[in-house]
């Protein structure tokens, strides 16, 4: 295949970037998208040019590290991760525009690499359960209906890649945050910190500067893991009910 690539090049966070056009003459349709970029980078290095920087790690669709906004869609034309996208999804002679995720909360580090640590900070704000790690408990000690377990597991498949933010016209992180809130809100282990979790994660999401949800559904349509916007409705319920009912208990230090 012959391809024309229009790639966003930017030297650093505070530099101005711009598109650069590259042509590739021998692309195999069996290559993954990232392998195609590897080949491009090899040729750039041979020419003594700076290779195109992009994020990737597992290349198995499980780590959430790869990104890329390809021809106007996060992770390209298929509902999968960029590492699992193959060149057979494109046509010979096609021009492919490759941009980084665009969000105020995801600043560009270099070329196509963006800083997604905003997601880590949201996760740290409440996306966990506090338990003593002891011996492994017996299986089925805590009963969870299959339906509920499935829903929680579906939410938990979120790999935090940020495609939802990239796809959303408001750069809203609500699909990500709601998946994390949901996976714990559904399970018994998540109950003790349920209310604080919703409050803290939503507050952190706002502090990071993500947009609000307009319920366009673009995130759900683009999510490589098929996370549903029913999770966003659940997060809204969790957040509202927590804000209206949660209270602090003051424990006197001299009591008892």
């Amino acid at each position: 295949m012959k391809l024309t690539l229009k790639i966003w090049r930017q030297k650093g966070a505070n530099e101005n970037g711009g598109f650069k056009t590259y042509t590739m003459d021998h692309v195999s349709p069996d290559m993954s998208f990232l392998e195609m970029l590897d080949v491009l980078n090899d040729s750039l290095v041979l020419k003594g040019e700076e290779p195109v920087h992009f994020d990737h790690d597992c290349r198995e669709g499980i780590c959430g590290m790869c990104s890329l906004y390809i021809n106007g869609r996060p992770h390209g034309p298929l509902q999968t991760t960029t590492c699992q996208l193959h060149m057979r999804s494109f046509t010979d002679g096609q021009t492919i525009t490759i941009e980084p995720w665009r969000a105020a909360a995801f600043p560009v580090v270099r070329d196509l690499v963006v800083d997604r640590s905003a997601f880590d900070r949201i996760q740290r704000a409440g996306g966990f359960i506090s338990v003593n790690t002891g011996a492994a408990p017996d299986a089925n000690e805590i009963l969870v209906p299959k339906k509920v377990a499935d829903e929680a597991m579906d939410a938990a498949t979120c790999i935090g890649c940020g495609a939802c933010v990239a796809a959303c016209k408001n750069a809203s992180a609500m699909l990500f945050v709601s998946a994390k809130v949901s996976q714990y809100a559904l399970l018994p282990q998540g109950q003790p910190e349920r209310k604080e979790r919703a409050e803290r994660m939503v507050a952190q999401m706002d502090a990071e500067g993500f947009g609000a949800c307009t319920n366009t559904g673009a995130c759900e349509a683009e999510c490589p893991k098929g996370i549903k916007i029913t999770n966003i409705a659940r997060m809204n319920r969790e957040y509202f009910s927590s804000m209206f009912t949660n209270y602090q208990v003051e424990v006197g230090s001299d009591a008892g």
Partner: protein, 225 residues
């Protein structure tokens, strides 16, 4: 008190205000339509005038009407706050290429559709509501009681071609606003349930098509009569 401020300054709290005011305005639309349909009655405007007199004098309706104005104002101000936050969330550089494949265009243009609705509301208030409350209105007598003749005023405007066209165009904007907005408000409130999602979707779309269509049919029919 802090929790209250936190709630209403959060993105979700702001969306809550949008959804609640939006749903109230939907209710208002339905009531308003029921009133307007009396314009089509073949009684020289009698029942419409009596209804309008009631709506502009009944103390309870006056309170609801004040609330309605407040809700429109809140809906608009919150829309501006949310839309500007959403615009800045994209960051300094936007996408060179964007595909609209993954969402419906109405959902991406609520601000523009809402602005068209706002233009309509302002024109509408100036020509009808302000006349009824502050203007010098002609009167008619029904059974010895004097009523302000708003029907004649409406009839006059609805014989102006461009006015009818504007009216129909703005009703289309209302329809598209609600085509997304109706179900969206439920999702915002967290009322998403596999058992009822289909129903909300169908009722919402039916409302978004039928109500503006009936609203728009009134001036069109009066124009051609």
């Amino acid at each position: 008190m802090k929790w209250f401020l936190d709630l209403f300054s959060s993105t979700l709290g702001r969306k809550l205000m949008m959804a609640l005011t939006g749903l109230f305005l939907i209710l208002f639309l339905a009531v308003h339509l029921a009133g307007n349909l009396q314009l089509l009655k073949d009684d020289g405007g009698r029942s419409f005038n009596i209804y309008a007199e009631f709506m502009s004098t009944n103390p309870l309706i006056q309170i609801v009407s004040k609330g309605n104005f407040a809700f429109i104002l809140i809906h608009v101000i919150w829309a501006i706050m949310l839309t500007s936050k959403n615009k800045s969330a994209r960051g300094p550089v936007g996408y060179a290429e964007a595909s609209g494949k993954s969402s419906h265009w109405t959902s991406r243009n609520m601000g523009i559709l809402g602005t068209l609705v706002l233009v309509f509301i302002v024109v509408h208030l100036k020509d009808f509501w302000a006349q009824m409350h502050f203007g010098a209105m002609p009167t008619v007598d029904y059974d010895g009681t004097s009523y302000r003749d708003i029907y004649s005023l409406v009839n006059e405007w609805f014989n102006v071609g461009w006015y009818v066209a504007l009216y129909v165009f703005c009703m289309a904007a209302v329809g598209f606003h609600l085509y997304h907005g109706f179900a969206s408000a439920f999702q915002t409130l967290g009322l998403n349930h596999l058992k009822y999602n289909g129903l909300i979707q169908v009722v919402g779309r039916a409302f978004a098509i039928i109500v503006p269509l009936l609203f728009a049919a009134i001036p069109v029919l009066m124009f051609f009569n």
